[in-house]
Subunit: 756 residues, 2 copies
């Protein structure tokens, strides 16, 4: 059995696997080349380097501490994963555990590499902008390219090697790899998101509490933390998140390919459907290099966004051509091409849709700015209504992806085929991942470049860095839309392979076996699962938004303490610097403490539901998370983006410009939007993927632990496990509440002090 | 066949049907008695009567115009309903159409009676409060009792008569009755919600635009409209909404009872399970009378809320005792008692939960007030996070209802039994409807009483009316929670009977037939349906929130025009009154125009989805609406309630009291919360019910129009119908956008004028 798939593969296919690996290696070499090129650029003045050094230090400190904290959890989960794979044999069990470690490592390494280069590139970008806009842009974009290339290559190399070791049993091991990636992404997104917005909100509010301190004043100890936050949140979090989507769509497509082969009874069907995604990914690496490499501006008069868009479009177009050829001449099935192409189109649709709702060029943001004239309340209401609307259209794009797959495969196709088509759509959507991550990482680098220039008192590049920063805001917002869409498609693919896992994994699946595990929402347990699953994103968002508020209060307190206790700081005496490191420490500690409860919720809740309601309940639960998670994520990201750019329009002179009443209202909208768009919203992406992946991992256990198929409910042993896990989550929630109490005490002191 | 159920019933059962009718008649007589008692009270001073007269006039004008507008739609739907029942025979088809008319009439009449008495009771309550708190309270509460009694009796009498005419085919006709109720409730909730908040927000913002005008100044032409809004939104909307839940849980329980009888093969099973809900309702009428009648204060030192709570608790407890006896000695099945009792407990749980999240006595609202110290942004974020959290716990209550039914009926019970249990839980929850509606309607009456006293310059009752008003805010918020929960339970029951309808309606259902129609979310079409269904509440809320903003802008414009054009108004010259009628007209016209697009969306979207994705897609769609509709409704209602009471806490002197920075932040939260809690949130209740009811009505048509059972997708004819319906919705949406453009023009003029 173990040899069957390997021996069933043609020499061409074996050769192709090696070729895919070579593509991966080329990608890594290209990333190293970009890195060297960026680091060779000039680092600017001493003051710029000093500030950049502080940001680097803070960012390293945060990541190091985060990795250390989660190491013990990774250890526990390693054991759990080995145990979960035990029934499949010791090689699979250990393989899954090791792959899990590797997945964690790849995701962490991708984030780490992207971020460490970003914090070195920011100052170089700032310096290069002093001579030329084009040079500054290329440095920022190519630094992003390093993160992008690591994202696309690490996942591909890992998955290909695992496949070459295990063949038809590879999916069992790949689940471990994918879960490792997901877990790290969850931590990076949640921790990074809390960090970045706690620092941002804290720094902003200090300006209000301490009258007379402007927002980015160097006397403010929270300003460095704010810059660090941009890197840990936007760079590291985003790269890890997309890495994960990239990985799990591949795993899901392989599981569905195996199920397809089992259903048709022809092992060649499975092989072709597994090889096709690997080839798509290999091509994606090469076209990502193309896309990143051609992004350059002919001269300083070209608008940077046009150059970036060109790279994106070329990368997508060339990929499409290649996909056509492999689908037509290798797989001999042009349906695969159409499904993948559909994904590319959907990526563009999501990009445009997000741009429409978050760019000042279009009506929604203009409406928000207009509403700011009648105060903060109408600003909030208008932005919220726009966000609600945008979530509907984004969801229609996802529904369109699934419906497109139905059209391509025909209404008579079975669910396995259609869901395989959906996973191909996901693969197509992420084809240009290299370019997408570059565009995204470009954002915080150019943002930092502007910040460093301002703090170091450099003025000759201000027009250039402002242009770069404005472009960065657009690319950041638009790639967020793609990240959400790809997360949802990845989760749908995982959900689609859930039933195959229930039916006993890849090899033994038949249509009859699949039909033994219907997830019928007309069954009460499934419906309960659906309801509870739907509630999870709401609970998770509530927790992350509060976490930001709590951490922000601590920061305000610390900044105020420094003003009180450091002589000469408030007066701006020459040479007196705030203790920025302390604020960075508080941010780090808070972010890491605050991510524990949401992370436990994400990992344990599927297991609890499964122990309580059996596999039908778990199935409903996973479906519910996708629906409400998608809607809430888009709502929060787009409303936040809209408020942000609405405020910017006013700052650019509309309705009275800076300092007007409309501006004040715009700032309120922006502050509300900050944790929406940078903490709670993006953190929902890994949440829906992690929960669906946990569901896949525990599916066989739950089925084995149930009283046969008739009852559909789990046995006493599992119920006990469920109660224990539920107790852990409840304790975590209570501890998280306890933190609130501590904060309340701090705050009371703060109030008492301000009353003095 | 037609005679089988009738002949299978015992003489006791036939007698009981008459007894239930007699209960209904007693309830109506009691309502008329209460009405007479209230109207006999003194109407107060001339000035009070003049103001009350304006409110009455506005309220009548609104309701009359609304009823006229929807008459044509009712006509069209009458034809559609007759057509939808055609295959079941002409008597059923016509019966369904006529029952639809009756349902519309009963719902409208309930709302109308409640509201007309409320606008006459407000002034009487204000006058009675001048001598005694206890008397004022009794007038307000008993006026609410009239609406409450009409709600419980109209539905029961209608359903019982229909059952006595059609027996086992009654559910086909009752669907028409329920749909009529739902439709009117949707209009009342949406139209009333837009009206009340447009007037409220408009009146508030005028204070800001025209500096120096306090919020409730009699010179402000929008103040009367604001008072009218309280009545049309809170009284009429709420009564119609609960009437609808009350009705559809009964219909759903009957459909499930028929399915149960068909499954067991014993017609007696169906009869007992139909009789039990009717008896429960009959008992509910009597205990509602008891609950309303015992609400009185011994003296002015008693707190009004205690007296009201006593009525609620007694009514619930006595009902429980009766339910035990009929379950034990008539149905001989104590499971029915437990399921119903569970509903009573859940009503109390929802009440307490909502109170926890919206009352200043508990932490969530205190946190909101505390957050107001750091400005509007933190106020909004805290309230939003609390709202998110509350939606999770409320959803757990609903999941608990379903799980409770599983526990009661046993894990081995089939879905029909468990869902019947859920519908009994809904019946139990609404047992105390009479008291619940009294509590709710009491709110706007006491609110109006305070408003009228202030405007008429009456000061000797101010302490009393303020106490009454504060209690009203609590009861209003808490009953909202029960309204949502009962709407969701009603929708779940409807959804549970959806499959029975797919399988061919009551008589021919067997377990095998049911299993031909699995709603499997692992099927792509079902999943698409689930996603789109989940998006509907988001789209609907976006539309209603915008509608409020648009209408509010028109009102501001009109009030400003009056200040400019009526000589002496701004200066407060003796005898110069604003033209309040014009603002009332604008409110009425806007509310009615703005409700058309959301209403069309609600009615047509299930049909469009069914035509596009067949019955499986429709099934997913209905499930998706329930999940996201519930979460969003609770989020918006509780966040809104929290902001409202957070602001009140500050107004009562916390953190600097009225006029402080914290108060300003609280006002922003309250203004954001207004359309959340009074327009978008409550309007989701009828939305989820209407959509599920439309699903039930079209289920047989879709099944008949599909290419047999294998394809599960609809035929070409239905696709054409779907495209036509989709075109109608798109046109409605575009028209609604067009309105935005008109408003934008008005606003530009407004801006130009203010620039002069």
């Amino acid at each position: 059995m173990h040899e069957s798939m390997k021996s069933g593969m043609t020499a061409f296919e074996h050769g192709t696997l090696w070729a895919v690996l070579v593509c991966g290696v080329i990608g890594i070499l290209y990333a190293l080349y970009l890195r060297r090129q960026v680091l060779a650029a000039d680092k600017g003045t001493d003051e710029m380097q000093r500030i950049a050094g502080q940001i680097q230090e803070g960012a390293y400190a945060y990541l190091t501490r985060q990795f250390k904290t989660i190491l013990s959890l990774v250890g526990i989960l390693f054991v759990a994963l080995v145990a979960s794979g035990w029934s499949a044999g010791i090689d699979i069990a250990l393989g899954r555990g090791i792959a899990f470690f590797l997945g964690c490592f790849c995701s962490a390494f991708t984030g780490y590499m992207g971020m460490t280069l970003a914090v070195q590139a920011n100052v170089r970008c700032a310096h290069a902008s002093r001579t030329s806009l084009a040079e500054g842009m290329v440095i920022a974009f190519r630094s992003g390219g390093v993160a992008g290339m690591f994202t696309v290559t690490m996942g591909l190399v890992g998955a290909t090697v695992i496949f070459m070791l295990f063949y038809e049993r590879a999916t069992e091991v790949l689940l471990g790899f994918g879960f490792g990636g997901c877990l790290l992404a969850l931590f990076m997104r949640v921790g990074g998101g809390i960090y970045t917005k706690a620092a941002d909100v804290g720094a902003d509010l200090v300006g209000k509490v301490e009258a007379g301190i402007p927002e980015d004043d160097p006397r403010n100890a929270a300003v460095i933390a704010d810059q660090v936050g941009d890197n840990v949140g936007d760079c590291a979090g985003m790269a890890a998140d997309i890495f994960e989507s990239y990985e799990v769509t591949l795993v899901a497509s392989m599981i569905l390919a195996l199920a397809h082969g089992a259903v048709t009874g022809n092992p060649r069907d499975a092989i072709i459907w597994i090889m096709f995604p690997l080839m798509v990914r290999g091509i994606g690496v090469l076209t990502s290099i193309l896309g990143i490499h051609i992004v350059r501006m002919k001269n300083d008069d070209e608008y940077p966004l046009d150059a970036i868009s060109k790279g994106f479009i070329w990368s997508a177009a060339v990929s499409g051509v290649f996909f056509f050829f492999i689908a037509r001449y290798y797989a001999n099935d042009s349906r695969l091409f159409w499904a993948t192409l559909f994904g590319i189109i959907m990526a563009v649709a999501m990009y445009k849709l997000t741009e429409y709702y978050t760019s000042g060029k279009y009506k929604p943001v203009q409406e928000i700015a207009r509403a700011a004239q009648t105060g903060p309340a109408t600003t909030i209401l208008t932005g919220f209504a726009e966000g609600l609307e945008s979530s509907v259209y984004s969801l229609l794009v996802i529904a369109g992806c699934i419906f497109g797959s139905i059209l391509v495969f025909g209404a008579e196709a079975n669910a396995v085929e259609i869901l395989y088509g959906v996973s191909l759509t996901g693969l197509g959507m992420l084809t240009t991942t290299g370019v997408i991550i570059s565009m995204d990482t470009y954002g915080p680098i150019s943002d930092n470049a502007q910040g460093i220039s301002e703090m170091a008192g450099i003025e000759d590049n201000s027009a250039n860095v402002e242009t770069l920063d404005a472009v960065g805001n657009t690319t950041k917002a638009a790639t967020k839309g793609i990240a959400i869409a790809s997360a949802v498609i990845a989760a749908v693919s995982l959900f689609g392979s859930f039933q195959s896992k229930l039916a006993g994994g890849g090899e033994e699946v038949s249509l009859a076996a699949l039909q033994k595990f219907p997830i019928q929402i007309d069954q009460p347990t499934v419906f309960i699962g659906l309801l509870i699953g739907g509630a999870m994103p709401f609970l998770f968002s509530s927790m992350t938004i509060r976490a930001v508020s709590r951490a922000a209060f601590l920061i305000i307190n610390e900044v105020r303490r420094q003003f009180h206790e450091i002589p000469g700081l408030m007066e701006g005496k020459e040479g007196v610097l705030p203790e920025s490191g302390k604020v960075v420490d508080i941010c780090t500690a808070s972010a890491i403490r605050e991510l524990i409860a949401p992370a436990l919720l994400a990992i344990l809740s599927p297991a609890i539901v499964a122990c309580w309601l059996g596999w039908p309940g778990l199935g409903g639960f996973l479906g519910g998370i996708i629906v409400s998670g998608m809607l809430l994520a888009v709502l929060m990201c787009n409303a936040g983006g809209g408020w942000d750019n609405g405020k910017k329009m006013i700052e650019d002179g509309l309705y009275g410009g800076k300092g007007s009443e409309a501006h004040k209202a715009g700032v309120v909208g922006d502050t509300v939007g900050d944790p929406f768009k940078d903490t709670a919203g993006p953190a929902l992406n890994p949440l829906i993927k992690v929960m669906n992946l946990v569901g896949l991992l525990i599916a066989p256990v739950i089925v084995a632990g149930s009283h046969g198929l008739n009852s559909r409910l789990p046995g006493a042993g599992l119920v006990v496990v469920g109660i224990v896990l539920a107790a852990i989550v409840v304790v975590a929630l209570i501890m998280s509440k306890k933190t609130t109490k501590d904060i309340a005490e701090v705050q009371q002191k703060l109030e008492a002090a301000s009353g003095e």
